[in-house]
């Protein structure tokens, strides 16, 4: 099989994980770092080769990109039809994801050589990175929804491990736990969804599931439950898993906290790759969504739209550089979800789908860049807060420029990548429903505003006094920045409509000036507003914040979602369910078992006077015993 080697794209990082994990503490830190980096480097090369081969070679048959099984083995069989296969499924989105993941991962690997240098647990860090890369790659190439679930979980756990990398920091531990549990909760839905899906369709296999003419889709909409078909329900449940991973409201709460992890991890996992897994999941099942459960897709769109707005508003108020980026990520993922949600299936109807994937791709570039840049800044000033920064452009020129490029890209200023992808999304939204368009339009403006608020706050504004003079990051860190900056600047020109489409067939897009111009306009407006507020520093923002009062405070406190969760978990689950159960178990269930013993003892004690030591009493009992026997057996019971 010509794509057989693709399995190694995933396996090489795994090998790196095993080597660095098992033997890491025995070797010099840098060696394990290099092992990891070289490993992912090879994987990156292989995925480029595969991408080239797929997109420009054998992938396209009769103008349609095929689903190609590069490798497949049976891993666990449940019944004749249901089995978990492990394998590599190549189609446009998985190949694209391979490229994205390996690229960003490679950048992060290289970057971390500098960023993490001297950290205790360097080898462990690379081991976890390897594990993550392996899991993420395995996820995207999954041939089977269960394989995807498996890697989905593995991604989750590597995220958990990496967030909790600084394990003696309580906040990191708490954040990792939160991330895992929230996504786990979402995965519960995913799993039930998978089971329901398999119950209806009798298969786990993606090829069978997503075949538009396949039995799975055509017979899908059977019995209805609460107004929606069972198929829709199962897809909603599956989407719940995706929403968890992709931090859709209200399952988003783990993502900002996840910033406790090392910054390169945030770049890799919580910006470029893992968090878009939900988007990828919906995209993977898109034919099923689009053809047999449009209601499900509607929900995806609503969730996407709401989250993007919600997160953007919060992002405007935050002070922690990484948290701003985290909310920004949420917001951008909302975009992608919305795009999927408003998309149709096949040809030009699939504009949203294409746009979503496109944005996923470009977003990976500039968001990774933003995070890595933020990492460089934090590395320099040893703080996460904008308030501790200012005027850094003089000290860190490379970081400054690359960061600016990323900001322009995310704000949607042409010709940077973000403009093109975001524009397609706006078009798709516009074609579907005006409301979606308006929301996303506002979000575009907000995005530009908060990104430049950040930009000015860090690189301009009042210069702070620094304990150690900040200096530019080492080459191992700046090189990835530069590479990603190039990516952010140029990837917008990739013709996605020719490559990654909902049905594998290329289509043409028309440039909509009526949408592009206003969107550029609002972006510029946002930038200008930010410039006015933050370039020199002014008291206007505070005044506005004060003017907004409660609304500002609510946004600043992230709309109290965390508090709600706290209430539900601590007060309700712990106190009202778990504690009573523990009590019930000890007192009632166990108590009744002990009670039997107690009663036995009591009866025993109560009976002791029967054995009084009085011979005549014994005789009395004996005689009455006989007489009772006689009475009952001769007269009462003798039939």
């Amino acid at each position: 099989m010509e794509f057989g080697y693709t399995i190694w794209i995933a396996l090489i990082p795994f090998l790196a994980f095993l080597i660095t994990g098992l033997a890491g503490h025995r070797m010099k830190p840098m060696v394990s770092g290099l092992i990891g980096t070289v490993g992912i480097g090879i994987a990156t090369l292989l995925s480029y080769v595969a991408a080239h081969q797929y997109f420009f070679g054998v992938g396209k048959v009769d103008g349609v990109y095929q689903k190609i099984i590069g490798y497949k083995m049976e891993w666990l069989r449940f019944s004749e039809t249901l089995a978990i296969d492990m394998g590599v499924l190549l189609d446009p989105i998985s190949v694209m994801m391979l490229v994205v993941i390996t690229t960003v991962s490679l950048m992060v690997h290289i970057y971390s050589l500098g960023y993490m240098a001297g950290e205790k647990g360097f080898a462990r860090f690379y081991a976890f990175l390897g594990l993550f890369s392996f899991s993420m790659l395995g996820l995207v190439v999954a041939t089977n929804i269960f394989q995807m679930y498996i890697f989905w979980e593995l991604v989750g756990v590597s995220s958990y491990l990496l967030i909790g990398f600084y394990y003696n920091k309580p906040s990191a531990v708490a954040a990792s736990k939160k991330a895992f549990i929230v996504t786990r909760f979402a995965d519960f839905g995913f799993l039930v969804g998978i089971l329901l899906l398999s119950y209806i369709t009798g298969t786990f296999d993606f090829v069978l599931l997503t075949d538009p003419e396949g039995a799975a889709i055509t017979q899908g909409s059977g019995i209805a439950f609460m107004g929606l078909s069972v198929m829709t329900w199962s897809l909603i449940l599956v989407f719940m898993g995706g929403a968890g991973k992709s931090a859709m409201f209200p399952l988003h709460i783990w993502l900002p906290d996840a910033m406790e992890g090392p910054t390169p991890v945030s770049a890799l996992i919580h910006a470029a790759t893992m968090v878009v897994a939900g988007v990828f999941l919906v995209a993977r099942l898109f034919p099923v969504f689009a053809l047999s459960a449009p209601a499900g897709l509607e929900i995806v769109a609503i969730m996407g739209a709401f989250t993007s707005l919600f997160a953007a508003v919060i992002a405007c108020t935050q002070n922690d550089i990484k948290r701003i980026l985290a909310y920004s990520t949420m917001s951008q993922i909302g975009y992608m979800m919305l795009a999927l949600g408003v998309s149709g299936y096949g040809g030009a109807d699939g504009l949203g789908y294409m746009a979503s994937m496109f944005h996923l791709f470009t977003h990976a570039m500039f968001k990774a860049l933003l995070f890595l840049g933020a990492g460089a800044i934090i590395h320099a000033v040893h703080s996460n807060f904008i308030s501790d920064m200012g005027g850094l452009r003089k000290y860190m020129p490379v970081t400054h420029i690359t960061f600016l490029i990323a900001c322009l890209a995310i704000a949607g200023i042409p010709p940077f990548a973000g403009f093109f992808s975001k524009d397609e999304i706006l078009v798709a939204a516009y074609q579907n429903h005006m409301l979606y368009f308006l929301v996303e339009y506002i979000v575009a403006g907000l995005t530009a505003f908060y990104m430049f608020r950040l930009y000015y706050g860090v690189f301009w504004g009042k210069e702070k006094t620094y304990e150690h003079a900040p200096h530019e990051a080492p080459a191992s860190m700046t090189i990835p920045l530069i590479i990603l900056a190039i990516g952010s600047a140029t990837t917008g020109f990739i013709p996605f409509q020719k490559l990654v489409t909902s049905d594998g067939m290329a289509f043409d897009i028309h440039f909509h000036w009526n949408i592009a111009l206003p969107s550029i306009g609002i972006a510029i407006a946002g930038i200008l507003l930010a410039t006015a507020f933050y370039r020199k520093g002014s008291d206007m923002p505070d005044k506005i914040a004060a003017g907004l009062g409660g609304l500002y405070r609510a946004a600043y406190r992230k709309f109290y979602i965390d508090e709600v969760y706290q209430f539900i978990t601590k007060k309700i689950i712990f106190n009202l369910i778990s504690r009573p159960i523990a009590w019930f178990d000890r007192q009632i269930v166990d108590g009744s078992m002990n009670g039997i013993a107690y009663i036995t003892n009591m009866v025993s004690a109560g009976m002791k006077d029967l054995q009084s030591g009085q011979l005549q009493q014994y005789a009395f009992v004996l005689v009455s015993g006989v007489l009772i026997l006689v009475l009952s057996l001769v007269y009462l019971m003798n039939n």
Binding site: K608, Q611, S612, G613, Q614, L615, Q616, A619, F620, V623
Partner: protein, 103 residues
Amino acid sequence: MSIPFTHFLVLSTLLFFIGIYGFLTRKNLITMLMSAELILNAVNINFVVFNKYLYPDQLHGHFFTLFIIGIAAAEAAVAIAIIINLYRNFSTMDVEEIDQLKH
């Protein structure tokens, strides 16, 4: 035979339960023993009467009675030995006081 056969049985049964009553109420050990003798005597009457009136061609009941009398003697001997031992060593004759062993 003019005495109703069952009257013997009434006699013996009453004697039997009088004996039991004595056994259950008398506090002195020796009187308890006497009550036991009453019980045996009642049984003896039973055996004899059955033998005489119902199955006179064999002497089963007759012999049974003989042996019961013999055993009663042996029983009484041992019981009295124990009672005397109790009296001599522990100076008690009252069954209600003999209750070291209980519960």
